[in-house]
Amino acid sequence: MSTVESIPAIGPTEIEAFSEKGGVFWYSDSSLNVREVARAMNAVGARFITATTYELPANGGFRLEYHWDLTGRLLGFNFPLTGSTIDSIYDLCEAADWIEREVHEEYRIDFTGREYEPLLLRKGNVCGVNLQKEVVQ
């Protein structure tokens, strides 16, 4: 069984597969794909909460943390971005719509496989000017 296949088996006794840190149960596996995680979370009935973007120092790119709630437990999945693109999970999880649009707008990260509506928080067409420290126009 692959690590991804093991995610649907999360239960009170299987939580050992996750390591608790800073209030979050983290599942560390660098081979995970965000869409596979979203499918696994859907399968166990977890609720999508949000995705948090971190800009890495020295132009090191970005890191995205995705959070789901499973019966009160906060589950976290880490996705370092080598470039500035990551698969969208909007078609699997409609709760991710606004946060994907917001992250796209604030950090110029592209969520592939979805269409964008006009910017969520600002007017205009320029992305990446709210939180990204070094904006490349």
Partner: protein, 362 residues
């Protein structure tokens, strides 16, 4: 023939700016698109320029109604990064102020809902009750909006005579059971405006990930005070009201029942509040952060608030503060609530979510 009706950003029912473009056929709404961001303030970015004391004051201003909840969530996250645990009395005070905030938020919402129904007498009754709750908050903190109660590792002010608050709670419960709940549940005005209106089915509520009273009024029984207790909630005996109908009436009913449960929690917290310190002993302002990220969640009046805080050791300011507010996830559901509704019902449907654009445009 369909036509588009824009509602907002100057809204007929609510004082905060957002815009709902509704595609209508006759009087029936077929679809809607929501636009936010009219007052985007970039608070997350500002937080990266504030130290650990200033950032609390800043985050208190994310929301004017649940300002305490925002600092509580932030402080709980920062406590994970400093290793500080608030003393038991501070945990109880956090429960008391959190529930008082829930009371005044829910009663305010009930008043606004009554006004939108055309029930202005009820609006005045609700605001009279809310004023009593605000008086208690002012007596505890000295403030009516931003209470400045939370600090890393505890609270800033003690409640010197907890039992003196019981009188207000009894008066509130009496008014709720005598007037507000019976009128909202039995009067023809309320029923005809609310029953079967703006329905959000259970499956859709789960799919959209809605939180708080909106979720609980659609049959999704989630509440962090029960599911992941914080502060002193694990020691409180209360139930989480859940109504499966998903309409405006269900959202009204859930909030009314939550007011009663809040009174129950307050009575327990005030009568069993342990003696002792309210902050770490010694010079509580001296502590150090460990490098890392911590996350905290709290059940605000409108639902789950989540803060992720990232700090580097010896840094004066956080490297990242991310805020996920309840309205941010609840508001997209309005699109589905108004589909098939009469245009005249849409202000009330929008209000039934209890939206907060101060939070959303953080």
């Amino acid at each position: 023939m369909s036509y588009e009706i824009p509602m907002g950003p100057y809204h007929p029912g609510l004082e905060e700016p957002y815009k709902l473009n509704m595609i209508c056929e006759g009087e029936t709404v077929k679809d809607a698109k929501l636009h936010i961001g009219f007052n985007f303030r970039g608070i997350e970015h500002l937080a990266e320029t504030r130290n650990y004391i200033q950032v609390i004051a800043l985050m208190e201003r994310v929301c004017g109604l649940c300002s305490f909840i925002h600092t509580l969530t932030l402080c709980q996250a920062m406590e994970k990064l400093t290793g500080l645990t608030p003393p038991p009395r501070a945990q109880y005070i956090r429960v008391v102020v959190g529930e008082l905030e829930r009371l005044h938020s829910h009663v305010l919402w009930a008043g606004i809902a009554a006004k939108l129904m055309g029930f202005k007498t009820m609006f005045m009754t609700c605001f009279e009750i809310r004023e009593k709750v605000m008086d208690v908050l002012q007596a505890i903190s000295g403030n009516r909006v931003n209470y400045a109660m939370n600090r890393v590792g505890g609270v800033n002010r003690d409640i010197e005579d907890p039992l003196s608050i019981l009188g207000m709670i009894e008066a509130l419960e009496k008014e709720m059971t005598r007037t507000i709940i019976p009128i909202f549940t039995t009067s023809k005005t309320a029923t005809s405006r609310c029953a079967g209106i703006g329905v959000l089915a259970t499956e859709k509520a789960k799919s959209l990930g809605v939180v708080g009273p909106v979720a609980r009024a659609s049959g999704v029984g989630q509440d962090l005070r029960k599911d992941a207790p914080y502060a002193a909630y694990a020691e409180m005996d209360f139930t989480v009201p859940v109504v499966p109908d998903g309409d405006v009436r269900a959202r009204l009913l859930v909030r009314a029942l939550e007011i009663m449960e809040s009174c129950k929690i307050l009575r327990q917290a005030l009568t069993t509040m342990p003696a002792g310190e309210i902050a770490p002993p010694g010079d509580g302002s001296k502590f150090s952060f460990i490098t890392g990220t911590a996350t905290a969640r709290v059940e605000a009046p409108r639902g789950e608030v989540m803060y992720s805080v990232s700090w580097k050791e010896n840094a004066r300011t956080p490297s990242r503060v991310h805020v996920r507010t309840p309205t941010y996830v609840n508001m997209p559901s309005v699109r589905f609530m108004v589909q098939g509704a009469r245009l005249a019902d849409t202000p009330l449907i929008q209000a039934s979510v209890d939206p907060c654009y101060s939070c959303t445009d953080r």
